[in-house]
Amino acid sequence: MSEEIIRALVNVFPQVIPVMVLGVFACVLFLGSTFRADRHIWAGVALVGLAGAAVALVWMVPTVPLKRDPNYASPIAMDRLALLIHWMALVGGSVLVLFSWNEVPDRQAGEYHGCLLLVVAGLCLTSAANELVTLFLSLELISIPTYILMYLPRHDAAAQEAAMKYFLLSIFSSALLLFGFSYLYGLGGTTNLPALLEALTRNDTSLPVVALVSLILVVAGFGFKITAVPFHFYAPDVYQGAPTGAVALLAFLPKVAGFVALFRVLGLVFTESPGNGMGLGDHVSILFWILAAVTMSLGNVLALLQTNVKRLLAYSSVAHAGYMLIGLAVAEPLHKSQILSPQSELLNPRFAGVDAVLFYLVAYGAMTIGAFAVLAYLSTAERPIENEDDLSGLSQSHPGVALLMALFLFSLIGIPLTAGFAGKLVLFLDAMAVEGDNAHLFRGLALVGVINAAIGAWYYLRILTKMYLHSSIKPIEKPRALPGLLALWICAAVTLGLGVFPGLMLRSPELPLGAKPATSQMKTSGRPDPPKTAPPWRAAVSATTSVIA
C-alpha cells in the first residue's frame, strides 16, 4: 500500500464524525429506552444528537476542500455536495423528530427516534460515499431502520401490510441494485467510483451493451427510492397504511438518497470527469426523459382519483419525483451544449441540471413534510385525518394551520412566492436551455411538465376547496402540540423563504467574466452567432456552485 493511500484512509475518520455522533446517540436511545419510557426525554435526546452532529459538521467544514481532486483510495470523500446533503439530512431529521414528538407512544419513543437518527446517518453516508460497496451499505442503513419505523407506532393490519410491502419491495430493489453494481465492477474492475467512471469513459469507443444493462438495473434500484414510475407501486399503500411521521420521512430522506446516489454513480458531479457520466451518450438522457414524463404524468393522473389525503400525497410525491427527473434528463445534454465552449471552465457549468434537482429537493422536502405535518398535527387517535372531507372547514376551526396548509399546497401547485415555484423555474429553465439536435425533445419535456403542473393543481385545489370553501362536517377539536407546531413553522419558513428569496440557495458566485462575448462588436459586424458560452445562470443556479465542486 502506498503512502498516499494510507493517508487517504486515515483521513476518512474525521469526515465521518457527524455520522458517528448520530450512531452513538442512536445506541443511547436504543439502550436507554429499555430503562425508561418517556417520549419527551427521548425526543429531546434525539434532538441533542442531531444538534451534536451539526456541531461536528460545522467543525469539519474548514477541512472540506472547495475543489476536490478525484479520490481513488478512500471509501468516503466529503465534498460540497455531501456537505449540502448532510445539512438537508440534519435539518430534515430535526423537523421529523419535532413532527412525531407526540405521535409516538411513550413505550416506543426511544426506538423510534433511534431509528430516525440511523436513517439520517445513512443519508449522510450515502452523500459522501465514494465507492460502490459503501454506497450500497449506506443505502441499506437507510432502508433497514425504515422497516422498523413503519412498523413501530401502529400495530393494525394496515400498518403491518404497509411495512411488509415496503420490506419486500425494498429488498427486491436492493437486489437489482447489487446486480447492476456487479456488472459495473465487472466492466471497470474497481468499486471506487471515480476510478470506475474513468475506466468506463477512457476509450472513445462506445461501451458494450452490458453497460446499458447495468445502467438500467441501477436506475431501477434507485427508482424504487425516488418512486419513479414503474417502481412506485408501494408508495400509495405504504403512505396510507404507515404512521404519518414515518411517511413524511419516507417521502423525503430516501428520495434525497436516491437522487444523490444517482448523481454519484452516473458521474454527474465529479470534478475531473465532469458530467459526461458513464459515457453512454444519449441513452442516459433518453432513459430519464421517458422516466420523467411517465412518472409525472402517471403520478398526477392517479392522484386525481384519490380521496384519501395520504394516498393523494403519495401520488403527488411520485409526480414531484417526475419533475426532478427532468433535471437528470437534461444534465447530460446541457453539459454537452456547454462543453463545446472553451470558456466554460470559467463559468463552472459542470452541474447542469443537478443543482436544479437539489434546489427542488429542498423545496419538495419543505412542502411535503409540511403537508404531512399538518395532517399529523390535526390527527388525534379518535379522529384521524384520512379523507379530504376530514379537512372540511379547517379555515374556520384552525385559521392559522389552514393558512400554513394553504401555503404548502400552493407551493406544491407552484404558485409564485413559494419554493415550489422557484424550483419549477430552475428546472424548466434548464430544460428549455438545452441546445443542439435534441433541443426540441427537452422543450417538449418542459411542456409535459407544465401540463402536469396544471393537472396537479386540480387535486391540490380540491383540498384547498375543502379547507376554505366548505364548512366543517365534524369540527376538529383543537389539540395543542408545541413541537408539531414548531415543525410546521420551520417547513413554512423554508417554503416561503426560498420562494421569496431563492437567491438564499441559488447564490451567484463571484466569478471572473472574461468569457463574455463583445456584444457591440458583434452587432456591427453582423456575425451570426456569438461563441457559445456556458449559460451564466448555470453558475448561479448551482445551489451548489459553491457546494459541489
Binding site: L347, P416, V450, A453, D529, W537
Partner: protein, 588 residues
C-alpha cells in the same frame, strides 16, 4: 426619500400592507376593516391619479422621440435573484409607468374603490378575510401592469389567481366552488404554457447575444436589433415557420438530419403560441371562454367588477406588452388569421349568447366576450389607429362593464334575483338606479359623446385600414360592426324588459309578504358610480390625453409590425402587394 421621488412601489405597498392589516384586525372589527380598506384604496387611487397626471405632463411637454423599445418612467429596479454572473443578469423587481400601463393602473384604482364600496353591506360573513383578499387582488393587478421584468410580470400574473379563487369560492353564488376551481385551473393551465414562452424568449435572446436579461425593454430591444440585421441566419432563427410535414416524416425516420434542419421553425412562432395560450384564456378568446360566464356569475359583485374590469385586461395587456413586441413577425402572420378570426367569432357569438340569457349578470358576462373580441380585433390590425382604439376599448370596457356589474349587484342586493323575467318597469320604482343603468348601457353600446363610441370607431378604422392595406374585402370590419348592432340589441332588450313597461317587482322572499324598504341608491352607491360615470363622459368628450400619452408606445409597436410586414414582403419584391399606410393616420 427615494420613495418620495418615485412612489410607484408605494402603489403596490399600500394595498399589500392594508391587506395584512385588515387580516390581522380579525373578524369582530368589521367597521374598522371596511374603513381601512376604503382608506387604502382611496390612497392608492390618489397616488395613481397623481402619478398619471405627472406622467401625462411629461408626455405632453414635448414630442416624444421615436424609440426602439419601451422607456418606462418612474422606474424602480432592485435585484431579486441573481441568475448570471453579470450585474444586469438578474431577475429584478422592476416597475415603472409608461403609456401603455398608466391608464390601466388608474382604471384599477378607480374600480377598486367602487368594489370596496359595493361590498360594504353585501358582505357580512368573514369580512376581514374578504377585504384582505380584495386588497391582495389589487396588489396583484397593479403589479401585472407595472412590472417591467418578465418574470415579475408572470409572478403577479399568477398571484392574481389566488385572491380571486377565494373571493369567488367563499363569497360567491350557489355554484361558487366549481366556478372557483374551474377559473383557477383554466387560467393556470394557460399561464403555465405562457411561462414556457417567457423562458423561451429569454433564452433565445441569450443564445443570440450572450446577454441574459429579464427586463422587458431590454428583451424588446434585443429582438428588434437582431431582426433588423436581416441576415438569413437571423431570419431562420426567429421567423422561420415550422414544417409539420417534415416533423412527422423525420419522426418516422424518413428524413436525414440535413433535410430536417429548420423543421421546427423560428423562435417567434412558438413564443407567440405559448404566450397566446395564457393570454387568450384570460381575455378570453372564444373557444377558451367557457370559464368566464360561470366565474362572472358566481363571483360576488366586487369580484365580477374586477374580473371584468381589470383581470380580462391583463390578457389584452399581455398581448400588447409581450406578444406584439417580442414576436412581431408571428403576430403579423398568425395574428389576423388566428386571433382575428377568433375575435370576430367571439364578437358575434358572445353577442348572440348575451341575447339568449335569462339572467342579467350572465348577459353582461357574455357581453364581455363580445367586447373583448372587439378589443383584440383592433389590436391585431397592428396599426396606430387600431392599437389606440384597442387600448381605449380596454379602458372603456373596464368602466362600462364594471359599472354594469355594480348595478346588477345593487339590484340583486335589493331583490335577490337576477332573472330578467322577474323584473319589469323598475324605472318607476328605482329612478336613479335606472338612470345609471341606461347611462352605462348607452356607454357600452357606444353612443357618440360617451366613451364606447371613440374606441369602437378607432377599432373599426384600424381594421378597415388593415384590410385595405392587404387588399382584402373588409369582411372582418363588417362583421365587427354587426357586433355593435347586436350589442345595442341585447342591452336595449334588457333595458326595456327590466326598467320600462308595466311595473313588475320580483316576488318577495319566502316568509315575507312584501318587499319592505326597497329604496333607491344611497350615498355610498352614488359614490361608487359617479366617478365611473364621470370618466365615461370625460373619455367620450375628450379622449386625446389618453391617446397622446400612449402614442409613443403604440407607434413603436405599430412600427414593429410595419418592419415585420417589410420583412414578410421582402422575399417577393416583384409582388404587387402595396402597403398603403400600415402606420395609419391621425386620431380624432
Amino acid at each position: 426619500m427615494d420613495l418620495l421621488r418615485n412612489p410607484v412601489p408605494c402603489l403596490l405597498a399600500i394595498p399589500a400592507a392594508a391587506a395584512v392589516v385588515v387580516a390581522l384586525l380579525g373578524p369582530r372589527r368589521a367597521p374598522a376593516v371596511r374603513g381601512v380598506s376604503l382608506a387604502a384604496t382611496l390612497a392608492a387611487l390618489a397616488l395613481a391619479a397623481v402619478l398619471a397626471a405627472s406622467f401625462a405632463g411629461t408626455r405632453t411637454s414635448g414630442p416624444a422621440p421615436a424609440t426602439a423599445t419601451f422607456h418606462p418612467d418612474f422606474t424602480t429596479r432592485c435585484p431579486i435573484l441573481k441568475v448570471g454572473a453579470g450585474t444586469e443578469e438578474t431577475i429584478q423587481f422592476y416597475v415603472g409607468l409608461d403609456g401603455l400601463n398608466v391608464w390601466l393602473v388608474v382604471l384599477t384604482a378607480v374600480l377598486m374603490v367602487s368594489g370596496v364600496l359595493v361590498s360594504w353591506t353585501a358582505i357580512q360573513d368573514r369580512v376581514h378575510e374578504y377585504y384582505a383578499w380584495l386588497l391582495a387582488l389589487e396588489t396583484g393587478m397593479l403589479g401585472v401592469f407595472l412590472a417591467f421584468d418578465i418574470i415579475l410580470f408572470y409572478v403577479f400574473f399568477e398571484l392574481t389567481l389566488v385572491p380571486l379563487f377565494f373571493l369567488i369560492g367563499i363569497w360567491g353564488g350557489p355554484q361558487r366552488r366549481y366556478a372557483a376551481r374551474k377559473f383557477f385551473i383554466y387560467t393556470l393551465a394557460g399561464s403555465l404554457i405562457t411561462f414556457l414562452g417567457v423562458l423561451g424568449v429569454v433564452l433565445a435572446c441569450y443564445a443570440k447575444t450572450g446577454e441574459l436579461t429579464f427586463a422587458i425593454p431590454k428583451l424588446t430591444d434585443i429582438v428588434h436589433s437582431r431582426l433588423a440585421m436581416d441576415s438569413p441566419e437571423e431570419r431562420a432563427f426567429w421567423i422561420g415557420t415550422p414544417s409539420f410535414g417534415k416533423i412527422i416524416r423525420s419522426a418516422l425516420g424518413l428524413l436525414s438530419l440535413e433535410e430536417a434542419a429548420g423543421m421546427w421553425g423560428g423562435v417567434e412562432f412558438w413564443v407567440f403560441l405559448a404566450l397566446t395560450a395564457g393570454f387568450a384564456i384570460k381575455v378570453p378568446l372564444v373557444p377558451l371562454h367557457t370559464w368566464l360566464p360561470l366565474a362572472h356569475v358566481e363571483a360576488p359583485t366586487a369580484g365580477s367588477v374586477l374580473l371584468a374590469g381589470v383581470l380580462l385586461k391583463i390578457g389584452t395587456y399581455g398581448f400588447l406588452r409581450l406578444c406584439l413586441p417580442l414576436a412581431p413577425d408571428a403576430s403579423l402572420s398568425l395574428g389576423m388569421p388566428l386571433i382575428g378570426t377568433l375575435a370576430v367569432i367571439g364578437i358575434v357569438y358572445g353577442a348572440l349568447c348575451a341575447l339568449a340569457q335569462d339572467d342579467i349578470k350572465k348577459l353582461v358576462a357574455y357581453s364581455s366576450v363580445s367586447h373583448l373580441g372587439f378589443c383584440m380585433l383592433g389590436m391585431f390590425a397592428l396599426n396606430v389607429v387600431g392599437l389606440s382604439g384597442s387600448l381605449l376599448q380596454m379602458i372603456n370596457h373596464g368602466l362600462s362593464t364594471g359599472a354594469l356589474f355594480l348595478l346588477v349587484g345593487m339590484l340583486y342586493e335589493r331583490y335577490h334575483t337576477r332573472l330578467l323575467a322577474d323584473y319589469g318597469g323598475m324605472a318607476a320604482r328605482l329612478k336613479v338606479l335606472s338612470f345609471f343603468m341606461v347611462f352605462f348601457c348607452l356607454s357600452s353600446i357606444g353612443i357618440p359623446g360617451l366613451n364606447g363610441f371613440v374606441g369602437e370607431v378607432l377599432v373599426l378604422m384600424g381594421i378597415f385600414d388593415f384590410e385595405r392595406a392587404h387588399g382584402t374585402w373588409p369582411v372582418l370590419a363588417v362583421i365587427g360592426a354587426t357586433g355593435i348592432v347586436l350589442g345595442a340589441w341585447y342591452l336595449l332588450t334588457m333595458l326595456m324588459g327590466v326598467f320600462f313597461g308595466p311595473l313588475k317587482e320580483p316576488p318577495p322572499p319566502v316568509g315575507h309578504d312584501n318587499h319592505h324598504a326597497v329604496t333607491d341608491l344611497n350615498l355610498r352607491e352614488w359614490a361608487a358610480l359617479v366617478p365611473i360615470a364621470a370618466l365615461c363622459i370625460a373619455l367620450g368628450l375628450y379622449p386625446q390625453p389618453v391617446l397622446d400619452t400612449a402614442r409613443p408606445e403604440l407607434e413603436m409597436v405599430a412600427g414593429f409590425a410595419h418592419d415585420a410586414q417589410d420583412r414578410a414582403d421582402l422575399p417577393s419584391p416583384e409582388g404587387n402587394l402595396q402597403i398603403l399606410n400600415p402606420k395609419g393616420e391621425g386620431t380624432p
